[in-house]
């Protein structure tokens, strides 16, 4: 279980999550990227859109 740095809510990380995946805080909606940490997976603020992003 991880804590949202913005609002302190709990962010559940599903067991099949992978590094680089985006998770969203269920309370405040902030987005985070999963990164490897000493305890498994941690989070850092995610870039959710860039000026040249597209598909």
């Amino acid at each position: 279980m991880l804590k949202c740095p913005e609002c302190d809510a709990e962010i559940k990380v599903p067991p099949d999550s992978i590094e680089g995946e985006i998770v969203t805080c269920p309370d405040c909606g902030a987005s985070y990227e999963l990164v490897k940490s000493a305890d498994g997976l941690g989070i850092k603020p995610a870039q959710v859109v860039g000026e040249d992003w597209g598909q």
């Binding site: 992978i18 590094e19 680089g20 995946e21 985006i22 990227e33 995610a46 870039q47 959710v48 860039g50 000026e51 040249d52 992003w53 597209g54 598909q55």
Partner: protein, 305 residues
């Protein structure tokens, strides 16, 4: 396509994606793992493929490395940033990787003006367009072609910064704003406003097949059909006409796996307005049930050298 043919078509697609484990390997290059990238990763694992996710933001490449670990390897390019996508593709392809999609497709698909010219050259119907390179010439060319017109940034997606210009006042306001933005936005690209039903088509092409297609309907109070703007999707039958147009569009871009966006023009029939080289397909899988990630992995490994 008749209903029975459509079912047979879909059944053959589903079965072709459950091939035996190949023992091959590939890289998935990403800058954000969305539903699509995770589905590709899981499809590769399920097929027994050795797969490595590579974050484009962490890449540091020796451009002179004759023994690069990417040489001869398959790289599924999934970076959503146009500039990172084009440059990392150039680097990896230059080092001998089989990048899907290749550099030509990345450059052409990611820029609406380049794509327009490629489609025109290939004789594929696409919305009529004009380009101008200053505020004055932009207003002058709009006076000539008339309103309404659609202004689009040459690079970008998800409907961002696309505006419907109904008259000269609207055009002046939008163009004046753009004069204060990054120079790319002073390349003015205008398309005709195509009269059509309130939907467009997204067709997914994998190799030489259109594997699935959906209608994308505009959200309430919205003229754009992007799913990111609240539209909804329904399955679209893959007709011979649709398949022919999509394959021509894919080939015009030198692409391998692309998402082709089309409109059903009242006067011209199917017109291609975009070809996406890192196409999203979550909604297409949800609506059609086709195993697109599995088909993409099968195709990518068949392409590897």
């Amino acid at each position: 396509m008749r209903q029975e043919e459509e079912q047979a078509h879909q059944s053959s697609l589903s079965s072709s994606s459950s091939s035996k484990p190949s023992g091959k390997s590939l890289f998935i290059l990403y800058d954000s793992i969305r539903w699509e990238e995770k589905a590709l990763y899981e499809a590769a694992i399920k097929k027994g493929v050795k797969v490595e996710n590579v974050n484009c933001k962490n890449l540091a490449i020796n451009l002179n490395d004759k023994n690069s670990k990417y040489r001869g390897q398959v790289v599924l390019q999934r970076s959503v940033s146009y500039f990172k996508n084009v440059h990392s593709t150039a680097a990896l392809q230059g080092l001998g990787a089989q990048v899907i999609n290749p550099l030509h497709a990345a450059i052409m698909c990611g820029n609406k003006m380049y794509a327009h010219m490629e489609l025109e050259k290939a004789g594929i119907r696409t919305p009529k367009a004009v380009a101008a390179f200053s505020e004055e010439s932009a207003i002058a060319v709009l006076d000539k072609i008339g309103y309404p017109a659609v202004i689009k940034p040459t690079v970008g997606s998800w409907g961002r910064l696309i505006a419907l210009l109904r008259d000269k006042d609207a055009a002046r306001a939008v163009i004046e704003d753009r004069e204060h933005m990054f120079p790319l936005y002073q390349v003015y690209y205008f398309e005709e406003f195509v009269k059509r039903p309130p939907r467009d088509i997204r067709a997914i092409v994998v190799g030489n097949r259109v594997v699935a297609a959906i209608y994308r309907y505009s959200g309430e109070g919205e003229w754009k059909t992007n799913m990111a703007l609240g539209g909804h999707a329904e399955a679209c039958p893959v007709t011979k006409e649709l398949e022919d147009v999509c394959l021509k569009a894919k080939n015009a871009m030198n692409g391998h796996i692309v998402g082709v966006d089309l409109m059903e023009s009242d006067s011209q029939g199917l017109v291609v307005h975009e070809v996406n080289n890192t196409t999203e397909f979550k909604n297409t899988v949800r609506v059609t049930g086709i195993d697109i990630p599995g088909l993409m992995i099968d195709y990518a490994l068949g392409e590897g050298k």
